[in-house]
C-alpha cells in the first residue's frame, strides 16, 4: 500500500515538475487542443506570492536564503471531485490554473494526460535543453600540450 502511494506521488510529482517547467505558450497550445476540459471551480487563488529560494554554503553545507522568486498558484476542484494544485515560477495566473486543472485530471485519467500533455512537453523540454547543451559543448576547451622544441 505504502509503495503504491509513493509510486502514485512519484508519477504525479513528475507530471507537475514537467508542467511547471513548460513554456507558457506551449502549455496553453496543448491545453487548447484538449477535447473535453472539465468544469472546475477555484478552491484557492489564483494568486501571486513569493518563495524564498535557498542555497547551501559551498554547494552542500548549511542552507542559506539566496533571494526570493515570484510564484503563481491555484487550487481547483473539477466536477468529478478531484482537487488539483498548480504552482509555477513567475506571475502567470493562467498557467497556474491550467496546471491545477491538469493535475486534477491526471488523478482521474493519468494515462491520457501523460500521452496528450506531459509526454509532448517532456519531448519539447528535452529538445530545448539538448540544443542548449550542444551549444555549450561547442565552447568546451580541448587542451593539448605543446611539445617543447629542444633543438
Amino acid at each position: 500500500m505504502q509503495t503504491q502511494t509513493s509510486f502514485d506521488n512519484g508519477g504525479r510529482k513528475a507530471a507537475l515538475d514537467v508542467l511547471a517547467g513548460a513554456p507558457a505558450r506551449a502549455l496553453a497550445e496543448l491545453w487548447d487542443g484538449w477535447a473535453d476540459k472539465p468544469e472546475h471551480s477555484k478552491v484557492r487563488g489564483p494568486e501571486v506570492g513569493l518563495v524564498m529560494v535557498r542555497g547551501r554554503a559551498g554547494g552542500g553545507g548549511v542552507p542559506f536564503n539566496l533571494g526570493e522568486a515570484t510564484v503563481s498558484r491555484t487550487s481547483v476542484r473539477i466536477v468529478t471531485g478531484e482537487a488539483g494544485h498548480g504552482y509555477c515560477l513567475g506571475r502567470d495566473l493562467a498557467k497556474a490554473e491550467v496546471i491545477a486543472v491538469i493535475d486534477a485530471l491526471w488523478q482521474r485519467d493519468a494515462a491520457s494526460v501523460e500521452a496528450g500533455i506531459i509526454e509532448p512537453l517532456r519531448r519539447l523540454a528535452a529538445a530545448v535543453d539538448g540544443k542548449r547543451l550542444e551549444e555549450t559543448a561547442a565552447t568546451r576547451v580541448d587542451f593539448f600540450t605543446m611539445v617543447r622544441g629542444d633543438n
Partner: protein, 359 residues
C-alpha cells in the same frame, strides 16, 4: 530631523511629469518593450534581480525601464515591489551539482570530469567597440554533440582526498536565518552573511574582494570553479504532501579555494569561500566568494586586521538600497537642522570676535 513643510505640490507633480517625458525620450524613437530588455540587456536584468533579491525577469526589466537604466534605482523598485506580495514559504536548497551547465571553468584543474566550457563569456574578447552589432543579424551558435558526462563540483573532487575543507555539517534542526524577517544581530552565522552578500552591492563587494588581493587580509585565492546554468527550485507543497519543482532559475556559483596552513585541530588544507548569485553574474559571484572567505577569519582563528574581514563593517554597508537611502536623504529639506547650525556658528563667531576684541 525633518519638519513638515507645506508647498511644492505643483512643483513635485510637474517634476514627475517631466521625469516621465525624459524617461520616454524622443517620441520619434520607438519605445522599448520589456522583452527587448529581457533578451538584449540580460545582465542588467540579472543584476537588478540579484541585488533586488527577487527572481522575476520581467519585473526587473520593468524596473530598469522605469528607472531610466539607473541600476540602484531599479533595485530599489524591485525591493519595494516584493514587500507587496505574501510569502508562500521557503524552497528546498537548490542543488548546484545537478545544474544544467551553460558555463563551467576551473583555474585550478585543467582536466576536469565534465570538461571546461567557456559558454557565453566576455573573456578573451578584445574589448574593442564594435559598431557592427547595431541592428546586425547574428548567426546561430555553433553546436557540438554533448557528452553525457557528469560534472562534479571541483571542491568535491579534492575533498575526497582530504585536502579540501568539506562543506561542513548541516544541522537539520538548525533555523536558517532570514534578514528579511529579523533585524541583524552581530556576530552573524555564515547563513546570514551569505544572504546579505548575495543581495549586496556588486561594486562594494568587488572593491572589498580586490582589497584582499592587494594585501588587506590576504587569502591566496584560486578559482576552484565557476559554473553558470539553471537549477530546479523544489518547494514542499503542504496541500500535496510532497515537493514539486516550481521551474528553473539561472544562477552563478563560484568556489574560491584558499590556502590555509592549518591549526592545532585541523591539518593544513585548502579552505573555501563561496559565492552564489541569481542570473549570470560572474564578477559578483567571485567578489562574494572572496569576501565570504575573508569574513570567515574569526571562525578560522585568523587575525582580523583588514576591512574585508570586519563582519559588522562589511555587512552593515553592503546593501545599496540602505546605503542610497541614507546618503540620498541628505538632499531632503533639512532647513530647521541647518537653521540651528547656522545660529550656533553665528554665536560661536560672535564669542570668537568678542574674545579677539578683548586681547
Amino acid at each position: 530631523m525633518y519638519v513638515a513643510v507645506k508647498g511644492g505640490e505643483a512643483a513635485i507633480s510637474n517634476a514627475h511629469a517631466l521625469l516621465a517625458d525624459r524617461r520616454r525620450g524622443d517620441r520619434n524613437v520607438p519605445a522599448l518593450r520589456l522583452d527587448q530588455i529581457v533578451e538584449q540587456l540580460g545582465l542588467a536584468v540579472d543584476r537588478a534581480m540579484g541585488e533586488g533579491s527577487l527572481y522575476d525577469k520581467e519585473l526587473a526589466a520593468l524596473a530598469l525601464l522605469q528607472a531610466r537604466g539607473d541600476l540602484i534605482e531599479a533595485i530599489f523598485l524591485v525591493r519595494a515591489y516584493r514587500t507587496t506580495l505574501p510569502r508562500f514559504g521557503y524552497s528546498r536548497p537548490v542543488d548546484t551539482g545537478a545544474m544544467l551547465i551553460e558555463r563551467r571553468i576551473s583555474a585550478t584543474f585543467k582536466d576536469l570530469p565534465g570538461g571546461q566550457m567557456l559558454g557565453p563569456t566576455f573573456d578573451y574578447t578584445h574589448r574593442l567597440l564594435d559598431p557592427n552589432i547595431v541592428g546586425d543579424e547574428v548567426p546561430q551558435p555553433v553546436i557540438r554533440a554533448a557528452e553525457p558526462e557528469r560534472a562534479p563540483r571541483v571542491t568535491d573532487m579534492l575533498g575526497q582526498q582530504g585536502l579540501m575543507e568539506p562543506d561542513g555539517d548541516t544541522d537539520p534542526e538548525g533555523e536558517v536565518g532570514d534578514l528579511t524577517r529579523e533585524p541583524l544581530d552581530f556576530p552573524l552565522d555564515r547563513d546570514l552573511r551569505l544572504q546579505a552578500l548575495a543581495r549586496g552591492d556588486e561594486g562594494f563587494l568587488l572593491a572589498l574582494g580586490y582589497s584582499t588581493q592587494r594585501g588587506y587580509g590576504r587569502s591566496h585565492p584560486f578559482v576552484g570553479e565557476i559554473r553558470i546554468g539553471e537549477v530546479e527550485v523544489e518547494f514542499d507543497v503542504p496541500e500535496l504532501g510532497f515537493a514539486v519543482s516550481l521551474g528553473r532559475i539561472r544562477v552563478t556559483e563560484c568556489q574560491m579555494v584558499n590556502q590555509f596552513k592549518g591549526s592545532a585541530k585541523v591539518p593544513p588544507q585548502f579552505t573555501r569561500g563561496y559565492g552564489l548569485v541569481f542570473g549570470q553574474a560572474e564578477r559578483k559571484a567571485m567578489a562574494m566568494s572572496l569576501v565570504d572567505r575573508a569574513l570567515r577569519a574569526r571562525e578560522l582563528g585568523e587575525d582580523i586586521v583588514a576591512p574585508a574581514q570586519d563582519e559588522e563593517f562589511v555587512i552593515s554597508h553592503s546593501d545599496n538600497v540602505q546605503a542610497t537611502g541614507f546618503v540620498e536623504h541628505l538632499k531632503l529639506p533639512h532647513y530647521v537642522d541647518f537653521q540651528a547650525e547656522l545660529d550656533l556658528i553665528r554665536r560661536m563667531r560672535a564669542e570668537h570676535e568678542a574674545k579677539e576684541a578683548l586681547e
